[in-house]
């Protein structure tokens, strides 16, 4: 069991049940001169779902975007610290962020299929970047990805005709998930994937996540505590205090965080005293 870490967290203990897929150490991030998060360290366990929760403004989205180097895409933004993926630091000087994003996929809060492409084209968009796939191969991969995203039956008749945005919100999000699955990333990051969806669509995606974690490593940011307790194996609680910088307050198995947290701030948040 990963031991829950008392703030300020600085070391992670070696895992016994679950190996660490990604290991973040002392990750800090800035928007221009304003620091958004400070010294966040935690582990994303392999074949598990790790949830990051906290009130709005605590920096959880900022943190997760540091895990696939999307944070620095914003003009003037930068990050520091190390994030290890299979022993390699993705922030090492000679690492190309483009290659990081190829293996650490991301699903966004608002579904963002490409409107000028068909459903099929959307799914294979990542594969087309590399080129060298035959049409047959693309169709096979796309079909498999759509199966994995539980979308195949709904689109199999129209996937080559209909635009990516002709689907409902929940379907669009599953399309984005299929798009990510098609390139077979090592880790899948999800930034509040259900917050723009209705409860039924949310439930279907949560079901999907439970299936996906058998093959993938998943980290999810959510402002919905119930979702975190339903879905995740490990939970990290972040909070921004007077200095307005987001810190990791506590990290541990979900069951412990939600029934017997070590930190009073965690407990206050869980029980709804703030946020």
């Amino acid at each position: 069991m990963l031991t829950s870490l008392v703030a300020p967290p600085s070391r992670s203990t070696p895992a016994e049940e679950a190996a660490a897929g990604m290991c973040a150490r002392d990750v800090s991030a800035w928007y221009g001169t304003r620091q958004a998060i400070g010294n966040v360290s935690l582990e994303i366990a392999v074949n598990r779902i790790t949830a990051i929760i906290g009130p709005s403004g605590c920096g959880k989205s900022t943190f997760i975007r540091c895990l696939n180097r999307m944070h620095e895409v914003i003009r003037g933004a930068r990050a520091s610290g190390t994030v290890e993926l299979n022993g390699q630091d993705i922030y090492a000087p000679n690492v190309d962020p483009v290659r990081v994003r190829r293996v650490v996929g991301m699903v966004f809060q608002k579904p963002n299929p490409f409107p000028m492409m068909t459903i099929f084209e959307n799914v294979v968009a990542g594969l087309r970047l590399e080129g060298g796939y035959s049409n047959r191969a693309l169709e096979d991969i796309a079909e498999r990805a759509l199966h994995q995203a539980a979308l195949w039956d709904e689109v199999k008749d129209v996937w080559k005709r209909s635009s990516g945005i002709s689907l409902s919100g929940g379907q669009q999000q599953r399309l984005c998930i299929a798009r990510t699955l098609a390139i077979e990333p090592t880790v899948i990051l999800m930034d509040e994937p259900c917050s723009a969806l209705d409860p039924i669509a949310t439930y279907r995606i949560e079901e999907l996540m439970a299936e996906l974690k058998k093959e993938y490593t998943i980290a999810i940011v959510t402002h919905n505590m119930q979702q975190a307790s339903r879905v995740s194996d490990y939970t990290a609680f972040m909070l921004a205090e007077e200095d307005r910088i987001g810190h990791l307050i506590e990290f541990g198995p979900t069951s412990k965080i939600f029934t017997n947290p070590s930190e009073s701030r965690t407990e206050d948040y869980i029980t709804g005293r703030f946020g």
Binding site: G21, V46, N86, G131, T186, T217
Partner: protein
Amino acid sequence: MIASRSVGLAGVPTRGWLRRRTTNGLAAGLVVLSAAGAVAVLLIILGHVLVQGLPSLNPAFFTERPLPPGEAGGGVAPAILGTLEMLAVAGVIGIPVGVATAIYLSEYGRGSLARVISFTIDLIAGLPSIVIGVFVWAWLVRNVVGQYSGLAGGVALAIIMIPILTRTVEETLRIVPDPLREASLALGIPRWKTILRVVLPTAQAGVITAVVLSLARAGGETAPLLLTALGNQFFNLDLLQPTAALPIQIYNYARSPYPDWQAKAWGGALVLITLIGVLSALTRWTIARRSRAH
């Protein structure tokens, strides 16, 4: 080690990676080149105007009228005066119409009339200035007035000014926050006074900018003035006579075979562009100062 997905960072598929990196770099280079090229062309043109035009500038240039070819000296004073005259006419016609239309669109405009007016403004703005020149030529020069005249020139410039002025003032008025209007109306101040005493003054800086800039734009137009004011070598205060204008003077000097006149064409160009530049900068600076003061 992650068991199920063994593709770590080092093992990222490298299919076509070099090609993709190269294309990326090439594209970035071309994009930077485009921007650099455009700016370079701008600086080259302005540079030429400066270098070629500066030698012609002397006090006589601004105060005397053109002399016959072969005689040294002379200037473009009638043209400067004529431009100012016609801009005055254009302003007298154009500013009230432009501001009134902008007020209508911003404060009253709903329904089909407003949509028609808005669409029409855009259409007129898109008309080539020579077409407007032909219109005023056919209407005033060939018919009503009977000859080329500064009045016709002023009217043509007014037609060119109005769409630009209307659009800019309309945007400026829309930026004035509604709570301001509501507060004034809630105090019992009638609508029309609210517009004149509250909305317009708040938008004052923007309106003045719009007026100055649209006048500057109109002042640089040549084609419509060719067909209406025709040009004049002499000082002329009679608006019913052909009137000189700076752009026309530049045009005539440039087409002439005399080096002295050609040099004066550059001088006129320098004056014209300096005027436009100074006016734009002045209005922007005044706006910036005002907004800092608030």
